[in-house]
Amino acid sequence: MRKLYIVCCLMAVLSVAGQDAGSMLMIDAGYASVHDSYLTPITYDGLDLAMSVEAVRNVRHDKWLWQLMVGVDYNYVENNVRNNDLHKLMGDITFDMQRVWRNAIARRIDVSVGPMTQLRAGIVYDEVNSNNPVTVRAHWNVGATAMAAWHTRLGRKPVTLRYQVQLPVLGVFFAPEYDESYYEIYLGNHRNLAHLGWWGNRLDMTHYLGADLRLGKTTLRLGYRTRLEHWNVNHLKVHDVTHSAVLGISL
């Protein structure tokens, strides 16, 4: 409920701040690889599906850009012999503010850089494990994002090609101890569950490359997104990667 409240507040702030630069509804579909040593030492791979909404506002005379993304993603992955599967369901909220340099490198190329923050949480579920059937993922972090956009044309249609990287630097995340059961956490042992995340123990990255094609009042988005989540703490290792095609439409 509190998360929903925060999202509503951010949406409200975005709606009154600056000029609407577009909102997109996006669907990602592609490949996922999940490795979570709390559940299994085997790397699973399979399907990545995600849905997200992105709202962008230009503020302070187009010198700044505010971007809010809210999304959920689901991975259905199997082991190498295809006799077991994992389900991973995550949700995230990402907000960033970027300083924009119009025509920075060449004409019609905008470059922007700025700070970002992200809250991401969810679960990974193994159908057949006994007392370690599920693990909770949760982290909050701050970092940097950078974007390059080239405004050009495809025939007579305006097209924007965009590349963006999101790179969290520092944060806090949840992890149980090596073989700690969630039953023990339920009994009240909450020691050593929160960890400071930095590049020494955690690396998250999201890259997006795509094109926004304007068709009248509607914008169609085609792109590619890859996401890496890697951490190593309490002798536990997580290494998840997705590579997905992105299809979006303006709202």
Binding site: A104, V113, E177, H235
Partner: protein, 358 residues
């Protein structure tokens, strides 16, 4: 009045310099990003999926996660030497499974199983002990085939006016409302017999639900620990956990007898160890089957799964009950007597004496 911090003077030039730097270093940055992306895909598992690889994976999983090596004085390196000599890549899956299953039996652990499509390896030592339970005898000669059933619990008031509850699995979820109805029905009885013989365990949350109906105050239930790293002795400091009486629900605080046998295993072993610590409870029958390690599951490259004791749970004195909880009154059934249950008879005697003394 001049501002102490001028945006145009400091921030904008710095940002422009940064952008110029990025443009200059663009090739290197793209190379760095591509390398990161490629390495991001390169997660490799540690073991090959041939017979030797699977054997080594199993041995390593147990080496790094099993929690009772020292308690059971098992030299796992020596076990590796002995069984590795029996493994080759020319073996069939069944042959490999048999070798691996024998290796796991060295741990003498009912919670440790290798699970494949064709078989489950096991160390179920209770299969070799006296059975000490016959449902038919109780149904026919004590309940006269007349009993109630709710949430997996069979219950009735015996002619001696003692309540009888049989709970066959802690996997059967217990509803608080169901327990209220059962205990209110049994509230007129002078004592209660809880029979958990042949109960092979299940959910520890059901243990808490049941025990919470037989305590009048916050009670130390025991201690729980877990592995904190791959070393054999890397165990966390035992964490004391307590059960509290269920609020706004019916409790039973009259004398209670718990019936147990060697097949009372895992969560049932835990239930018996906690009930034994309560003042008004007597344990009758045989030693429980043990199994005080909360089992985790892992996986081999070939898809076989292995279950093993991971988190030791101790009784309220801090003692492991891996090899069982001894009864207060040791009784065996007479296997030739098909009309009476000596363990249940002893429970009735204990409750009768208790009510006479009161």
């Amino acid at each position: 009045m001049a501002s102490a911090f001028n945006y145009n003077e400091f921030i904008q030039p710095a940002c422009q310099q940064f952008v110029e730097f990025v443009v200059k270093k663009m090739k290197k940055i793209i190379f760095f990003v591509v390398v990161l992306l490629l390495t991001g895909c390169a997660q490799q598992d540690d073991f090959e999926s041939d017979q030797v690889g699977n054997f080594e994976a199993l041995w390593s999983i147990m080496d790094e996660h099993y929690s009772f090596f020292d308690y059971k004085q098992v030299n796992w390196d020596e076990v590796h030497q002995r069984y590795r000599a029996l493994v080759s890549n020319k073996m069939t899956d069944r042959e490999l499974f048999d070798v691996c299953g024998e290796m796991l039996k060295e741990l003498r652990d009912g919670h440790t199983n290798l699970i494949a499509s064709h078989d489950v390896s096991r160390y179920w030592i209770w299969e070799q002990w006296p059975v000490n339970y016959d449902e038919r005898i109780i149904d026919e000669h004590y309940l006269n085939f007349d009993y109630k059933m709710a949430c997996g619990i069979k219950y009735q008031i015996l002619p001696s006016n003692f309540g009888y509850m049989y709970y066959d699995s802690f996997m059967s979820d217990i509803g608080e409302g169901n327990l209220d109805l059962i205990l209110s029905y049994l509230s007129t009885a002078d004592g209660l017999i809880i029979d958990v013989r042949n109960n092979g365990g299940g959910l520890l949350t059901n243990v808490e639900k049941l025990v919470s109906r037989f305590i009048g105050e916050k009670t130390l239930a025991g201690y729980i620990s877990h592995k904190t790293g791959p070393g054999h002795n890397e165990l966390s400091k035992p964490y004391a956990y307590y059960f509290e009486p269920t609020k706004n629900h019916i409790h039973y605080l009259k004398p209670v007898v718990v019936l147990a046998n060697r097949s009372s295993f895992s969560a049932t072993n835990n239930f018996v160890s906690i009930m034994k610590s309560l003042g008004n409870v007597t344990i009758v029958g045989d030693t429980t089957g043990g199994g005080c390690g909360l089992p985790f599951t892992s996986e081999l490259p070939n898809g076989w799964r292995v279950r093993f004791s991971s988190c030791p749970i101790m009784d309220n004195k801090g003692q492991l009950t891996e090899f069982g909880v001894a009864p207060d009154v040791r009784v065996d059934m007479n296997e030739n007597d098909r009309t009476s249950d000596a363990i249940l008879d002893e429970a009735i005697n204990i409750l009768t004496n208790s009510s006479i003394n009161h």
